[in-house]
């Protein structure tokens, strides 16, 4: 559990909150996404690699289309792991987390854990992982020093929060509103209260994600938490540039620099 823990420490030492980015492997092809991830690795503290699924139930339209494009470029789990491997050659310090849906991870069988460890993955976020199976995944990942990052939402009862944090490691991901990725933020006060409550129940860092599109929101959210996750916004940028590589990377860099400043403690 080295890299994730270190990344939060490092951000702290630099008087900053943690900046986490999400992008989908294989959107709109493997090589394009590799270039995007390399860019993200140079500005973000942690990168989440979206594992595309044919039925991404928790995603808004931007990320849905991204999954669809990735799948039509013939992305496979094997290719994603070799992508991580290549990214690791360029960067040995920053955590890489796979985020996806249960069925894609299940399809790998028991060898999943060994494969992701060998590729250089640091943790998993499984959107539709049920409680009863979280202990199993937590222990399996713990055995190989990887983290199981769990989501907590505004509708999670307080009692359940205590259950969730028990089988979580790395950090906790607070979903900022009732909705799918990329929708608009609703209630800041609620986020503030819930993050505070979660932090009273765990020593793990708590980050906020879903709906963080603008610097202003990133700033507000990072003040009350340990970091923010930017996802749909990045895919938006690439889409707006029609997947032209140089333009996409240029505008991503601009946006990332801005988010970087926004999460700095002031």
């Amino acid at each position: 559990m080295g890299r994730i823990k270190d990344s939060f420490e490092r951000a702290k030492n630099q008087e900053s909150k943690t900046l986490i980015t999400y992008y989908v492997a294989g959107d709109n092809n493997l090589n394009f996404s590799k270039k995007v991830f390399l860019k993200l690795l140079s500005y973000a503290d942690i990168i989440e690699i979206g594992v595309p699924f044919s039925d991404p139930m928790a995603e808004g339209s931007v990320i849905q289309r991204s999954h669809e494009r990735a799948l039509s470029s013939d992305i496979t789990f094997k290719k994603i792991l070799s992508l991580v491997n290549k990214l690791r050659v360029h960067n040995q310090d920053k955590p890489i987390v796979l985020m996806g849906y249960m069925n894609n991870f299940l399809s790998q069988g028991e060898s999943l854990f060994k494969k992701i460890k060998n590729a250089g993955v640091d943790g998993l976020i499984i959107v539709d992982l049920p409680y009863e199976e979280s202990e199993f995944f937590y222990n399996k990942l713990k055995d190989i020093d990887l983290d199981l990052i769990r989501l907590i939402s505004p509708t999670t009862p307080k009692k359940t929060i205590e259950k969730i944090v028990k089988f979580s490691s790395g950090f906790l991901y607070y979903v900022s509103f009732r909705g799918v990725t990329g929708a608009k933020l609703s209630n800041f006060k609620e986020v503030q209260d819930n993050v505070k409550y979660i932090k009273s129940k765990t020593k793990l860092p708590v980050v906020v994600g879903f709906g963080i599109k603008e610097g202003e929101i990133a700033q507000k959210m990072s003040k009350i938490s340990d970091g923010v996750v930017i996802g749909s916004r990045l895919i938006d940028i690439v889409q707006q540039n029609n997947f032209r590589l140089n333009d996409s990377l240029k505008f991503l860099e601009k946006s990332l620099k801005k988010f970087r400043r926004d999460v700095r403690k002031k």
Binding site: F53, S54, D55, P56, M57, A58, E59, G60, S61, Q64, E68, L71, T76, F77, Y101, M102, N103, N104, F105, L106, S107, Q108, V127, D128, L129, P130, E132, R150, L151, I152, S153, P154, T155, T156, P157, T160, I164, V175, R178, G179, V180, A183
Partner: protein
């Protein structure tokens, strides 16, 4: 199998049917599912609730549905005696309404102001629109854009009853994508919305609730067959897409081992063609729509596109209890092709004057193929789950006729 059948009491406290079922959804939905489960457990045996439900089933749906002897078809098949459990005579034309009249009462008890549903063939959408109109509740139906085209009349019926129909064009633009979209809507409006899932699918407690509300079909059949035959049927046959009509008629008979239960999936262009919707016959276990069950998927866990002439069976998964019943061997699952189903559709229409839904026609196709192999004294009951009025366009198209 014997022990498991005798003590059959599923789902367990985690919402599991053996290793199947469960609750694989994003965290935001968990509390709503827990609320639904605890309310349902509390009121399912409540006398007042049961009275209200029974009254609706009798006066709004038109229950009990008759058990009909298909005499001319039996003569033609020259084998076992074939009876039809006439769910096609229900209000709105299919078994789907058994579930929606129950779930709308649950929604009201929870104080929900808005109801959403997914639909494939449109029967569940129509059945939901009807109960919402009757109770004056806002109703939004998610439907794949491909299905909207195939089932234009049902779309209009829903609109006439005041429902809003939202086209879904993500993924394959069919039932599975409509279900994804309904889940996304539900996450976004969780506080005031109830999601009426139309099949014995989805996260716990849906497979249980939808089964329970539909099991009125099997419960009635038990009484009717005791009176009519002095015994239970030898075989009960039902089509299986998500599997709600089949679960409804099978469930009360699970412990009665002398009754053979046969579920018929959609073999589309044939099981070997890969173009079908038969996860139990040619799929593998995985997770979709909040449940672990047999799915049509590739080795990476991506869900495959399906094909069936009937929109209602065009689904890559199946209710988790069916997966469980398959593995324990209590229900026997087979499949019928588009061609066989269409032939059965025509046969029943001509010989009995009953036009079955294309979904139902798959169950009839199994009977066509197998009645002759059975004893003449055997009694086969087919769950005639829906009427075929909605399928005129598809049947005409298959016959090369343009309106």
């Amino acid at each position: 199998m014997t022990n498991k059948t005798n003590n059959y009491n599923y789902p367990d406290k985690n919402g599991r049917f053996g290793s199947f079922g469960g609750r694989y959804v994003s965290e935001t939905l968990i509390s709503a599912l827990e609320e639904l489960e605890s309310l349902y457990k509390k009121i399912k045996n409540d006398k007042k609730f049961q009275e209200e439900l029974t009254n609706d089933l009798q006066t709004f749906v038109g229950r009990p549905s008759p058990l009909y002897f298909a005499k001319r078809w039996t003569d033609k098949l020259n084998g076992a005696k074939v009876f039809l459990k006439r769910e096609d005579l229900n209000h709105t034309g299919a078994h789907k309404i058994n579930n929606t009249v129950g779930q709308v009462l649950l929604a009201k008890k929870m104080g929900k102001k808005r109801i959403i549903a997914e639909t494939g063939a449109g029967q569940h959408g129509v059945a939901t629109a009807a109960v919402c109109a009757r109770h004056g509740i806002e109703c939004i139906i998610f439907m794949g854009s491909e299905d909207i085209e195939r089932q234009a009349q049902n779309v209009y019926r829903m609109k006439l009853m005041g429902a809003e129909v939202c086209p879904v064009s993500s993924g394959t633009s069919t039932l599975k994508d409509a279900m994804n979209e309904a889940m996304r809507d539900w996450v976004s409006y969780i506080d005031d919305t109830h999601y009426i899932i139309g099949s014995v699918a989805g996260p716990h407690p849906y497979p249980m609730i939808v089964r329970d509300f539909n099991s009125i079909v099997g419960t009635e059949l038990k009484k009717q067959s005791k009176i009519l035959f002095g015994k239970y049927p030898d075989k009960i046959v039902a089509c299986v897409g998500g599997g709600s009509n089949a679960m409804g008629i099978f469930y009360p008979f699970i412990k009665d081992k002398e009754v053979d239960l046969i579920g018929v999936e959609a073999a589309g262009s044939g099981l070997s063609s890969g173009k079908h919707a038969a996860p139990l016959s040619d799929g593998s276990p995985g997770v979709l729509h909040g449940m672990k069950t047999y799915l049509m998927q590739n080795s990476d866990g991506q869900i495959l596109g399906t094909h069936s002439v009937s929109a209602g069976l065009d689904y890559p998964g199946v209710g988790p209890e069916h997966s469980f019943l398959k593995d324990m061997g209590r229900v026997h699952y087979e499949a019928a092709t588009d061609k066989e189903a269409l032939k059965a559709f025509h046969d029943l229409s001509r010989v009995e004057g009953i036009m079955p839904a294309l979904e139902t026609s798959h169950a009839l196709a199994w009977v066509s193929k197998n009645a002759k192999k059975l004893k003449k004294s055997d009694i086969v009951v087919v769950n005639l789950s829906g009427r075929g009025d909605k399928d005129m366009q598809s049947v005409a198209k298959a016959d090369g006729i343009n309106f």
